[in-house]
Symmetry: D2
């Protein structure tokens, strides 16, 4: 099913599982997909920044995307990150992913863009390249991408392209941006658009209150994201915050630039979801001390949320 | 008393209080200083990045620094941020501050520095400018300053200058950096240096466990920083984390780039410590919605820490 | 006489002369001012990026600006660079300069500005700070300042502020930008504005043909700039290019980022205009080999332009 | 023949020829290769920054590289730019290029590298990826890549990897860097390395005098680069400068960031070397006015160098 502007809920940002020798771990792709479906994710975004996408060759990217898509089947929507240095590679991966059954693609702005016009023109060209029948997600992530998009520029990009159906919002701070975009919709200047939020989930509690439709991020407990999204939608504010706050120390720890992915893979491996915590080179390993800190945080989270009570794995690769 | 490499505990990063019309609020400087002393801060750092220092003229900077210093008297050590586009202004403010009784000065690297040599040479020139009898704090804050210093470069800077007595550590992530520097000291390649940590306190719980000597940041509840520092020093790890975690949702909220200072001034004003939450232009105001979010967070913190139970002020200027 | 949108001709970007020990060299300020007047400059811009302005303290900046202004008297218009990290310092220097008789001030955008709105808002705030009766020059220099302003943003800034009378154009490449701005004036969307061009003069030949009103740069032979501006205004295109091309190898050499100022001061010292080629610390010195290269280039220029035939100075400080 | 540290002379940076519809123009690859061989180039570097490499898909890159290599045969050495966001793609293109008969590959540092260690480690990992039997060229181009490598870091990279045989030097300014590296060789701390210089040739006159072994850049008259290199090697300094200076106005015009490639393709098309001046999207077109300026410059160069006397093409696609 193709992605629409009504998309909501929780989309997990999937890491790409590798074997210890750096080859892609197909079996763990299957396991990871099953896990996301089982806990109740509405979708999965693959080959994002946290998916080590730039380390893959073109053919590998297609294979990884296809495997996730096939495994998810009708259970979840798969969005494929197709950001690339050039439009030829972007087009190629987008078309092959859609052919394989992807729900849509995600595009981030390249770091050299500066002016409002440069940014909105870039996305026009991207849509020219992939075709205007491919639903796509606009990624707004200034902290990492160094491209700053005002609410007005985001509106222009969305109004310029009917096939843009979702914003992955991860400006930081970004609460007022959600409010500004929702106000554009109230005044009729912006059409309906799904807004899912990233940034590791570190502001998800309030983002939902500001009008987000859900979460799109890779926290190693997607269950928590799902719960907070659902509780907020039901109006159970205090409960949502109580649960969120119990996880915040770990969410915060996982959000460290550079080592966040290592922490995430460490926990997913510990949970038995992926076979190895290895990253493809050049990867960042976490130290024994960092692992002990994560374990301590897990034990503290487990006091409030028993899902964090992880039986230790026999062998930890991370 | 001059700053030494044995400095430890909690140094508050002070905001500069302004009146609603943008003039400096001397009375609130006094009140703020008294507040920091009363809650038990070991020192205060003024005219830092969060102190709106670049908005002040030279004479104003001297006046602000002097007022803090005089008011603190023997009760706390005052460190003056003297980072400046040129060494003439840096020297001038450093000498005037030391004459007025400052404990030391703090210097951040300017954003154009790139190579290891450029960085270490810059600090040599800075010490030439201010004189090698002025104790100084090296600020390591890559996220905002865009200058990346390896542990080895930090070591070189410290070993090059006897008057460098402290590192204000706010790399992010930075836990391994603390460990690396402490290991340099164990292997004898780095002399004793005080390490206080910043970043709004968002990793203070673990930074203390990695070997930090204390906190130097501006969280609107310095009492919390003091408690966490002290509990960790006493080895009461769980207690430290319990208290820290109760504050983390607010610490996290305050750490938003750009609006963090507005949140901080809003809370300090609400606590009655400063007369106005105003920033000098160009300042960032927080919306009514953001204020309500902060109020909600305060009420939640207050369930565990009654110091967050603030009686509402009659008129809020922020 | 205050600067107006009709300003044209050649405005020299003046270096700030220092003595070998780093103090300001007042006598050389006088000599430099007399030299610019004598060769026929219409104005001089002081305390620009090439004027080592950030190395001066507030009081020094005022003193340098005032000395240039007083010495120029009625002979030339003096523009004072007032770019500063904060508006208080900007306002202070602008008002003192205007009181002393400056023709106007020049403002560059600070490097953190990214979006169109951030840029145009910044200049609104700057005009609020200095007052709307102070004629000012907008500096557009992306290569060094990293702020990219589209023609439409420049138009907005100018249309927002009646007191903006001139663009210092040094985008690179920038020929099409001049054409775009002149076309805005033809279609009535932009009012009259003076455009002087910088970038060391390296495109002055064509910039004049695209509609520039003159040059504002610091090439050590302002005579060449004046001649090219005048020849182009008289329509003597080939003659303008012939003369320009004779100087281009040296113009090119002088335009090297970082050492350009050292080359410029070396030549001005060699010409007897300033007493020392010294820069205030941290300065860049040129090597003996670089000096020999400049001397060689001078000798080659002198084959076509005898003004480059400089009798060697007895002692070279640079 | 594989590239060695004795490589010298002129290596042309080849543009990638496209048809007007954006497909690769194989016939023009042949024509361009023949042209470079005919005028006397020692080698050609393909898929560099000016080769629009990021716009190609993986399979296209291999095809372009292979076509250049096959056509060059024994006449010239082909170096293939293999810079890529990840090592898998870099390795793949490097191995396929070497299999096809490339002389070596060229690697530029990715823009996020900051510290000395990050930079030298990156190149160690790159060599791990491509294998230490593939001769490679280190590209040093801070202005565009934003990575600043000191002479000492370059030395470390070269000494760490026996297979690094050449530096493509295009720091700017960079004359002292050549001297520093040659001095390292004199003092025995750096082994023999070829240094070819880029930057559009704008400092080639002096770079040869500082010790460069030749040119590696894409000026549309490689004949001029060859002549200057040869004249300087024969010690005919004045002649070298005379010829260089005649071309400098055009070299300078071609060196404009962003539109330089459009100018280059315009001239190569005008010379009949490539069938179309088109760039693959997103490309930069040059205006009619810019074309007229280039034509004017060509006519002026032709007064001294009759090779610039180009009979106008019947239809210009650029």
């Amino acid at each position: 099913m193709k992605l629409t502007a009504k998309a909501a809920g929780t989309f997990a940002i999937a890491p790409t599982p590798f074997l210890d020798d750096g080859r892609i771990d197909d079996k763990s792709i299957d396991g990871l997909t099953d896990f996301y479906a089982q806990v109740g994710c509405n979708g999965v975004t693959v080959l994002g920044i946290m998916g080590e996408a730039p380390k893959l060759e073109g053919a590998e990217s297609e294979a990884v995307a296809t495997r996730f898509i096939k495994r998810a089947g009708d259970k979840m929507q798969i969005i494929v990150g197709v950001s690339a240095p050039g439009f030829a590679a972007m087009r190629s991966l987008a078309l092959k992913s859609m052919d394989a059954g992807a729900a849509g693609v995600m595009i981030a702005p390249p770091p050299h863009l500066r002016t409002d016009d440069q940014i909105s023109n870039y996305f026009k060209q991207a849509v020219d390249a992939i075709g205007d029948d491919v639903p796509w997600v606009l990624q707004d992530y200034p902290l990492t991408l160094t491209v700053v998009m005002t609410p007005a520029v985001i509106r222009k990009i969305i109004m310029d392209s009917k096939s843009c159906v979702m914003l992955k919002h991860e400006d930081w701070p970004g609460l007022e941006k959600i409010t500004a975009l929702r106000n554009f919709q109230k005044d009729g200047s912006l059409r309906e658009t799904s807004i899912l939020t990233g940034n590791g989930g570190v502001f998800l509690d309030f983002e939902m209150e500001r009008g987000a439709d859900g979460a799109m991020t890779g926290y190693a407990f997607p269950e928590l994201l799902i719960d907070v999204v659902n509780l907020q939608k039901k109006g159970e504010r205090d409960k949502a915050h109580d649960l969120f706050d119990a996880h915040l120390p770990l969410i915060r720890y996982e959000q460290q630039l550079g080592i966040g992915l290592a922490v995430r893979k460490y926990v997913l491996h510990k949970r038995g979801v992926i076979a190895s915590a290895a990253q493809r080179k050049p990867g960042v390993a976490i130290t024994a001390q960092a692992k002990a800190e994560v374990d301590y945080l897990l034990s503290r989270v487990a006091r409030y949320d028993k899902r964090a009570n992880i039986a230790p794995q026999s062998s930890a690769a991370g």
